[in-house]
Structures are given as C-alpha cells and as structure tokens.
C-alpha cells in the first residue's frame, strides 16, 4: 500500500513537471520555473548536508559555482569543437567536478562537525570567491564566463534555443536528481548519516566512522550542487564570482531552513517559495527582502523545523483522527493573525513610501486601496486594525493551545 502510494507520488510529480508549462506558458513564468528547478536541486543537495548529515555549511555555493564554471567552459570547448557532448549531459560535467572538488575539500573538512565544520566551509567559500578574481582565465574576473548553449550538437532535433526546451531539460534533471537524492536517503549510507547527525559518538560505537559517513554525504551534496550549477550554466549561459560567493551560500541555507530540514520535501518547498518571493513579490514591493529576513528569523525562533516541519507535527493529531478539532481554532486565530500581518505589512509599506517615495507624491496603492500617506488617518486606521487584531490573536491563542493539546493527547486505548 505504502509502496504504491510512494510510486503514485512520483508519477504525479512527473506529470506536474510535464504539464506546468502548459499552465504557465508566458516567457516570464517559464523563466521563473527554470530558476525554481535549479534552486530545488541546489537546496535539496544542501539538505543532504544540513538536514540529513547535520553539517551546517556556509560555503555550499562553491560546488554549485565550480560545477557551473566547468559546464560553461565545456560549452565553449564544444563551440570550439575541442570535444562534443549534447547539452543535456552538461549537468553531469558540472556534477562530476562538483564531486571532484567535494572529495578534495571533504577529505579534511568533514573531520569535525558543528562549529568547526561551519567555519571551515566559510573559510573555503571566501577563499574560492577571492580566487575568482585572481584566476581570471578560469573565472573570467568581474565579467564572468559566458557560453552559448545552442552551439552544442542537437539532441533529437532540439537545439535548446527556446526557454521551453530548456524547461524540459531542467525538469528532467530535477526529476532524476530528486529521485536519486531521495533514494540516497533510503540507503545504508543515507540512514547512517541521520544517525551520525543525531549522535556522532554513538555511531562510532556501532561500527561507523563518523568522518567517513559525513564525507560520503558531503560528496553526494557536492555532486548534486554541481548538477544544479551545470543547469544554471545552461539556463543563464553566464557564470560569475557571485555564483560561488557567500551570498549564494547564504541564500541556499535560507531557503532550505525556511522550507524545513527535517522532511525530504522541505527544501523543495523552500526553494519554490523563495524563488516566488524573489521573482514575484519583488515586483510588488521593494521591501521583499525585509519580509524574507523576517520570515527567516521567525522560522529559526518559532518553528525550527521549518514550514514543512509545522505541517508534519500535525501527523499525531491526524493519526488520532482529531485534526478536525483544530480547524475552528485555526480559523479563529488565523484570521486575526492574517489581518495583523497585513496591517504590519501595510505600516511598513506606508513608512517606506513616506520616506523613500517620489517627492511630492502622497498617493500610494496598498492592498488595492489608494492611500494618502501625508494624512494621519491611514496611519491611525492601520494602527487600530493592528492593535485590534493583535489583541484578538492574544486572546484566542490559549483556546488554540488547549485544542492542540487535546488533539495530540494520546488516545485512551493506546498503551502508556
């Protein structure tokens, strides 16, 4: 039963991947989908370290970037007819070089976990990023390295000139890479990685070298990061120092953590959400990064298991058959909480407009309402809404908590 369901999930995902461009066929949505696909693989590979192996890395972009650089160099070699390779296999080149580099770096950095590992990864990341300005031949300096994906031999008549073709290429790799990473987590090496994450010392006393276990996860993560880098090279046809610097490394940490490190699909959710925020929300507000920052800090503090983790903690209530008891409390707290959130966003947006907007203009559109920021009334109204909603949330939360407790209480028939 579980087996069939698992298979169905994969088939459904594949179908969705194939059908998505039918739903969103504009140039813009295609480019967003492409970006999403690349980010999904990258975030999943990062979670092989953080979520599954317990290694906090501040330099994972190194493997993404190096894989990408090798892929874009390969594109140029293909164009110069040094060797020939269909574009569709380019991510493999990225992956192999990501792996190669991970083998080298991992051989010393995985000796320790925790803070030491984090610091080494940071140091390596900064070093490689700084090197990119030195080895101009390889990294292309400030300009980066560009390539042309259409110069490669055609693949069954596809030359990948159109974004749609690139989409299917990326979607194919997303499916394969996700499947492989999922399967990896189900192998002895993947399972023991979880054990080492939880308790490295104990793992040593059941016959496993924690260092070797981390090393294997690290190499796997390097490989898939390289694959993502190769896809980046195909999609954007340019690689620069930013692809391997600390900001890219930080972003992948951000989205993985927000999505949730404890569940396999967590990073996928994080990657999709963050890409949407980055591409869509940024059209509506200049403050989107502030919101992302808020979301991140709130995630670390209040839901360290991430968004998917929050969903996962409902499994007990679900198994108890009491999920329904939670619906009403969720709505009664959720609605005012949403209003409160909107009011806060409104205040921030008004402040931003008031301070940085065009001189002489006072009218702004906020949630489809035209607002004059030079008058006091919008401020007072928004503050009042925020205060009322805040009070309601505070007053209604205890009810939610007690409903939560009763929904999660062990059933009587369960043994204690």
């Amino acid at each position: 039963m579980a087996k069939v369901r698992g298979l169905l999930v994969w088939i459904a995902s594949l179908a969705v991947l194939l059908l998505l461009p039918g739903l969103f066929d504009s140039v813009l949505s295609l480019s967003i989908l492409n970006q999403m696909g690349i980010t999904i693989i990258f975030a999943l590979s990062y979670n092989m370290l953080l979520g599954q192996g317990g290694m906090l890395s501040f330099g994972h972009a190194v493997y993404f970037g190096l894989g990408g650089f090798m892929a874009v160099h390969s594109l140029n070699y293909i164009e110069a007819e040094v060797f020939s390779l269909p574009v569709i296999l380019l991510p493999l080149i990225g992956g192999l070089f990501g792996l190669l580099f991970a083998v080298f770096i991992g051989s010393f950095s995985t000796r320790r976990a925790g803070t030491v590992f984090a610091m080494i990864s940071l140091g390596i990341g900064e070093m490689i990023a700084a090197c990119s300005l030195i080895f101009v031949g390889f990294f292309g300096g400030e300009e980066g390295i560009s390539g042309d994906r259409t110069m490669a031999p055609e693949f069954f008549g596809f030359d990948f000139a159109q974004d749609l073709e690139v989409y299917y290429l990326i979607a194919g790799w997303v499916f394969v890479a996700t499947l492989l990473m999922y399967l990896f987590s189900q192998t002895p090496a993947g399972r023991i990685a979880n054990a080492v994450r939880d308790n490295p010392e104990r793992a040593e006393f059941i016959g496993y070298s924690q260092r070797m276990v981390r090393f294997i996860s690290f190499c796997g993560a390097g490989f898939f990061a390289g694959v993502a880098g190769g896809l980046f090279a195909i999609n954007y046809e340019i690689l620069t120092e930013e692809n391997l610097n600390a900001i890219t490394s930080g972003n992948v940490l951000l989205m993985t953590y927000i999505g949730g490190t404890g569940v396999f699909v967590g990073p996928i959710v994080g990657a999709v959400l963050l890409t949407l925020l980055q591409t869509v929300l940024s059209n509506y507000t200049e403050l989107w990064q502030l919101y992302v920052g808020l979301l991140f800090v709130a995630t670390v503090m209040f839901m360290p298991a991430g968004l998917t983790g929050v969903l996962m903690i409902h499994t007990v209530a679900w198994k108890n058959g009491r999920l329904r008891q939670l619906i009403l409390p969720y709505i009664t707290v959720g609605v005012p909480a949403f209003v409160l959130l909107c009011a806060i966003v409104g205040l921030l947006e008004m402040l931003q407009f008031y301070r940085h907007g065009v001189v002489g203009e006072h009218e702004m559109t906020l949630f489809f309402v035209s607002v004059d920021t030079s008058s006091v009334w919008p401020w007072i109204v928004t503050l009042l809404i925020a205060a009322t909603a805040g009070y309601l949330v505070k007053a209604l939360t205890p009810r939610l908590l007690s409903a939560w407790a009763s929904a999660n209480a062990p059933l009587e028939r369960a043994k204690t």
Binding site: V16, G141, E142, S146, T240
Partner: protein, 412 residues
C-alpha cells in the same frame, strides 16, 4: 506538494499575465542596491525625469503613448543583469537601457544578441547609455546595441590632449578598476601618452578590485611615494568617492584626470581640497549653461529632486533620440526603431549636433573637459557649492575614430 506548488503559482502569476500595452516601457537595468546604488538611483531619477519632461508632457510618442521607466535592480552584477533581462523580456518589455559597468554591458549585449537570434518574434533593443568599453562598438558590436556615450578611447584621446599640454608633468600614475573598462582606460592612456608625450614616464598602472576596496589609503600611499605628478583614473561611483577621500586625507596635491569624478558623493568629498585639481571629460554642459532649454531643464530637475544631480547629461539624449526614432519609425517595435536609430541626427538640449553612426551604432557628440571648482558655478554637485566648469571643448569632428565593427543587419 505538487498541488500546493500549482495553487501558489496560479495565485501569484495570474495577476501578472495581463499588462496594458499602452505605454512604451523601458527597462532600466542598473544597480539600485549595493555599493553602486547611489549611481544607479541617481541615474534612474534622471531617466524618469527625462521621460516625464521630454516625452510624456509633450503628447508622448506615436500620437499619445507615454514612456514608462521600469527599474530593475542588477546590483551591478553581470549575472543578476542576465536574470533581470530575462525578467524584462518576460514582462514583454522591448527596450532595455543599461549603463553602469562595462562588465554588465558585455553580458547584456551578449544576451540580447543571443535572444534576438533565437526569438525573432520577440526581440529587444539595447540602449547603452554609459558603458564605454570600446569593444562594445567594435569587436562585440551588433545590430541591436546602441551606445550614447563616447567610448573610453574617444574620451582618453580628448583627456590626453589636455595632459600633453602640461609641460611640467613628467611622471604620471594610472589607477583603475579591475575589469574591462578599467583596462580599456589604462590601455588607451598608455597608447595616447606614448604618441603625444613619449617623454612622460608612467610610474604605475594599477588595477584594484571593483567595488570592494573600502579604504584607498594604501593605494594613495603607493602613488604618493612613487613621486607621481599627476593621476589618471576611470573610477566611478563609490570607488571614486573612496579614492578621492584617500587622496584628500593624504594631502596629495597633484592634478587628477578623470572620467567620472563628479556627483554621487564625489564632488562633496573632494570639496575644497580638489579645487582646480580635478579635470573631467564629459558630454553635455554643466557650467556655463549654453542654452535656455538646458537651463530650464536642469532647474526643473533640481526643483523636483533637490538631493540628486543631473550627473549624466546623455540621459536626456537617450530619451529624446529614442522618442524621435520611434516617431520616425511609426512603431515602437525593436526592428523599425533600430533601423530609424541608425544614422539618426539630433540637436541636444545644449544646442549641439550629434549623430548615431550607422557602422557601429556609436553616438558621436562634442566633448567637454571641465574642472572641479566653486567659481562660476550655476549648477553645483551634491549641493556642495562645487561643480564642473567647462575649460575646453572638443568639437564633434575631433572625436571621430575608426571602428572594426562589421555589422550584420537582419532582413526582417
């Protein structure tokens, strides 16, 4: 998961699918955040103002269509520009304006060329208003790229004419940013000084990482102790502010020949210490103002944006020439507009004749060499009382240079 992903996508993407096709939208892809945000933001305002003042207030183009500037932040990064370019294209924008950093321009021009070749139905036009790596209108030229600023070699030719006349300067130091533009400036300086003043010794030819150096003191120490009698630099934005600050702090008292040592904080930083020392090559006119049109325009800009400057005078040329070309073409589609732009002639707000050369899509225009001073200044920079006063003018004929560009033109 799949369901959620779909639901979210439907919800968020749907509102973006429809856009009014009324306005002619121009994507402004430049740094609005990061180290060079001051430069980008300032130029953005100039674009918005020019579009409003020169087009929208005058019945627009094609009988009433407005210009709309869509700002896209590229953080001065080639990669991010690529992403923003895709986004602009995705939103159906057909005209791209970009200027800050030739590194970015090289990536954008390459991407535009590829995109237009692959998507003949959906082409875009690239208006380069400030990236002056000579390669862009030489080896890397293509039909869809138009440059409105004189490139690094043209400017250096004018600048070295002035330097060559300074008999007392025998030792000179070149410092610039480590990318194609900085390298082009240095190469041009070495080339022209070698021709015009073979006796002059170039003591140093140094490149520093762009946008990363926060304290230029060590560089200035080095320049100072080399015994240089003059400095040439192409630095712009924050890198010019930093360099200028270190020079002032060290009390160096030598002439500095520059491309962009004004506005965006540079003028305020140099202040009194830079008086009479900084020479800058530029298009357009700051002080004295040659025409009433330009004076009115400049005053109106300062009235609307008291904290910003009309730092890039070429911006109003971009907008006016584009509007002219669109009206001439009778369409805002890239191909007819590009054809109309080729060889277009125009009289600027400052009353100068300029033309877009057909062979390489390089705009040729008179250049000015100005000095940083507080005397005879009507329009200052950074509200500091200091500004640029024209010392010498280079007529259009003297700015003509040859090109290696071999343009191929699309048939349809």
């Amino acid at each position: 998961m799949s369901f959620w992903r779909m639901a979210v996508l439907v919800g968020v993407l749907y509102p973006m699918c429809s856009h009014g096709a009324d306005a002619v939208r121009i994507a402004f892809i430049d740094p609005i955040s990061g180290t060079f945000s001051a430069t980008g933001t300032n130029t953005l305002h100039q674009f918005e103002f020019a579009a409003e003042e020169l087009v929208n207030k005058k019945a627009g183009v094609l009988g009433g269509r407005r210009f709309e500037i869509v700002a896209l932040d590229n953080k001065a990064s080639p990669r991010e520009s690529q992403i923003q370019l895709k986004r602009a294209i995705g939103e159906g924008i057909q005209i791209i304006a970009q200027g800050n950093s030739s590194a970015v321009a090289n990536a954008v021009t390459d991407a535009v060329r590829k995109h237009n070749r692959r998507n003949p139905a959906n082409r875009v036009l690239y208006l380069n208003y400030s990236a002056v790596d000579p390669a862009l209108t030489n080896d890397k030229c293509h039909f869809w790229h138009f440059r409105f600023d004189a490139h690094a070699e043209i400017k250096m030719a004018a600048l070295t004419d002035v330097i060559a006349k300074q008999e007392n300067i025998e030792k000179i130091y070149i410092i610039g940013q480590d990318y194609s533009f900085g390298k082009a400036v240095a190469a041009a300086a070495v080339k022209f000084l070698g021709q015009k003043r073979p006796d002059m010794a170039i003591l140093g030819n140094e490149l520093h990482p762009i946008g990363r150096v926060k304290d230029f003191t060590p560089y200035v120490t080095k320049i100072q102790s080399s015994g240089a009698q003059a400095i040439i630099t192409g630095n712009w934005g924050a890198d010019m502010v930093g360099l200028g600050k270190a020079i002032v702090d060290a009390g160096m008292n030598v002439p500095i020949y520059t491309y962009y040592a004004a506005f965006d904080g540079v003028t305020a930083t140099m202040g009194k210490a830079g008086k009479g020392k900084i020479r800058l090559v530029h298009e357009g006119h700051y002080n004295p103002v040659p025409t009433k049109r330009l004076r009115d325009y400049h005053s109106a800009f300062k009235a609307k944006y008291p904290d910003h400057d009309l730092s890039n005078q070429r911006v109003y040329n971009v907008i006016e020439i584009l509007a002219k070309a669109i009206d001439k073409a009778g369409s805002s589609d890239p191909l007819p507009v590009a054809r109309a732009l080729e060889g277009i002639e125009h009289t600027t707000l400052g009353g100068e004749r300029v033309f877009m050369r057909r062979e390489d899509h390089q705009l040729f225009q008179p250049l000015q060499i100005s000095v940083h001073t507080d005397e005879g200044i009507e329009f200052d920079g950074d509200n500091s009382g200091f500004g640029l006063r024209t010392e010498e003018s280079v007529p259009l004929e003297n700015t003509l240079v040859e090109t290696t560009c071999k343009m191929t033109r699309p048939q349809s």
